[in-house]
Each structure stands twice: as C-alpha cells, then as structure tokens.
Symmetry: C2
Subunit: 185 residues, 2 copies
C-alpha cells in the first residue's frame, strides 16, 4: 500500500512533483484544475478512438481528417509535410495515411498550382460529413456547459486556457530545441 522510498509518508505526493500541496484551498484548486485538464485530454483521446473505430478508421486517421478540415476552413489547405509535423509522423507514414483517407473517400489530393512540388489536401464530402458527426454532439455539450457561465466568467476561462496553452507550447518548443540531453541511463 505504501509508496516505495521515504517510508511512511503515504500521502506526501507533493514529494514526487506530480501533485501539489493541497493544504490550502488555492493549492487544492490548482491541483484539481491541472488534473482535470490532464484527464480531459485523455478522455478526448478515448472519444476520438471510439468514434474512429465505429467508422472504420483509427485515431490517427481521425486526427488527420480534422487537421485537414481545420486548415482548409481557414483558407490555407495543409500539405503532407505539415500534416506529418502536426501528428508526429514520418513522411512515409503520412503517405500511407493520405492513401488510406483518399481511398476511403474522405479527402482528396490537389497539386498546388503555384508550387508544383507541393500537394494540397482537401476534404471530400464524405470527410466533411464524418467530421460533422464527430463535432456536433461535442458542440451541443459545450453549449450546455457554457450556458451556466456569465460573460465575465467566460472571459476569465478564456484568459486561463489561453495562458495555459501558450505555456505548454513554449514547453513543447523548448523540448524540441534541446534534443540531445541524455539522462543517467
């Protein structure tokens, strides 16, 4: 039952750095918010996995489809290279991925007319319908939740998630730029 090391202090989880001291209301809040964000990400993955499975794709395929729509809807279609960056995939895997999605009728390949090395990915009707099925119930749930918050409260939430997101991206970039550090392996 007891964690190994530091015998005895069973709930001194702060010593492990994973959790924060919860002995003040504020500390407890911060710990719970961080934990909830972590769980939210995990559950979102589960939802994506389950939904993708129902429709004959895997989680990566669904992520890719969303990224393709995301990019195209803001007027800047994505290329295979950048899709690979977003999904942490090598170029070979991206080709296979696009082949699958194209074969299934979810997206199309278009040559860029100005730079003919590039391929632009565009969603097909089938892919649009699938993404809509995925996002609609989530949007409805978001509506239900946000209905319980006043405008000023949503401003606070927005400020918070923006700051957390920016900080996490900083961390991600820092990890990328410091690639060679070895541990005590």
């Amino acid at each position: 039952m007891l964690p190994p090391g530091r015998g005895g202090k069973q709930r001194d989880v702060a010593a492990h750095g994973m959790y924060r001291r919860r002995d003040t209301r504020r500390g407890w809040l911060i710990a719970e918010i961080a934990a909830e964000l972590r769980r939210y990400g995990a559950d979102a993955q589960h939802v994506g996995h389950a939904f993708a499975g129902r429709h004959g794709l895997n989680a990566t395929d669904l992520q890719a489809l969303i990224a393709v729509m995301d990019a195209e809807l803001v007027g800047a279609p994505i290329t295979p290279g950048r899709l690979g960056e977003q999904l942490n995939l090598s170029s070979g895997s991206v080709t296979a991925l696009i082949d699958r999605l194209e074969r299934a009728g979810h997206i199309r390949r278009d040559r860029d007319t100005s730079d003919r090395r590039k391929v632009l990915l565009r969603y097909a009707d089938r892919g649009a319908a699938l993404a809509m099925d995925f996002f609609r119930p989530l949007g409805e749930r978001t509506d239900q939740v946000t209905a319980g918050f006043r405008d000023e409260e949503l401003e606070v939430v927005y400020r918070f998630v923006s700051a957390m997101g920016a900080s996490l991206r900083e961390h991600r970039d820092a990890l990328r730029d410091e690639p060679a550090r070895r541990r005590t392996d």
Copy 2:
C-alpha cells in the same frame, strides 16, 4: 481556395458544425475556448511523445507509467486489466507493454495477496524519477500561469473544467453504450 461543394460560401464554417458563430463576443469566446482545449490536448500529446522519445519509450509507455503512478499514489495500485481500459488497449497489448516497462526497470509486477489472479503494478525508482522529470517543468509552468489569477477566478476556472470534463465523460460513456449504430456506408 474554395472548399469543394456548396460553391461560394467560403467562410460559412458554421455550416459544418465544427465551429460556432463568432459574430458576438460571447460566441467568439466559446469558440476560442473550445478550440484552445482541443489544441491543448494535441500539444500535450506532442510533449509526451517528445519526452518519451528522449528516454527510449513511446507515447503509450509514458501514459502507462503515469497511470501506474497515479493509481499507486492514491493508494490503489492498478491492475493490467484496468490499465488496458484506461489506455484503450487489448489484454495482449497490455502484457507486451508491461513487459517493456518492467524490462526497462520502470515498474514492477506484484501479485495481489488477497486475490491471486490479479497482478498489481507498482512503479520502481527509475520510473518515479522519470515521471518526476516529466511533471516538474509542467508544474512550474502551471505555477507561473496561475499566479496571474485571483482565488475567485480560479474557482470559476475549476467549475468550468470540471463541468466540461464531466460532460465529455458522459459523451464517452454514451458512445460506449451505443456500439452498433451503422452509418450510411
């Protein structure tokens, strides 16, 4: 440049259901919050992927290690079966996963003394050190962000993320319980 089909309505993204109408401040806020949460999850995956890669594991291994510590730190060590549920893995994959982590010295297998069918997963020192290296910088960043919020504001944020998390889990469970629905394939 134009999305295919439905010629002309280039920016009518609301028609796709992915995004919400942004013509009011409140609508814009909600859309941005939802988008930021989505990006946060994706970026968290990237961070995990990058960190795991540096230490000779894959993203699944790191998730598993975190889940094992998470469970043990609250005094209820996890079993291979439940770990598979949390990570969306089959029993066979879980065995391979545990073998990898045990071989690398990150976790240990213990037989449950009261129910000897079960195996309890416990982290080893090596795994604890790794998890600490992963979480410490994230905790520091969380501290920096939360420093810019008053207690009442954190209460609002907590209420929001709790509600969003609960709603998402409801959706996940609904997906699970309605497994057979087929689309117009």
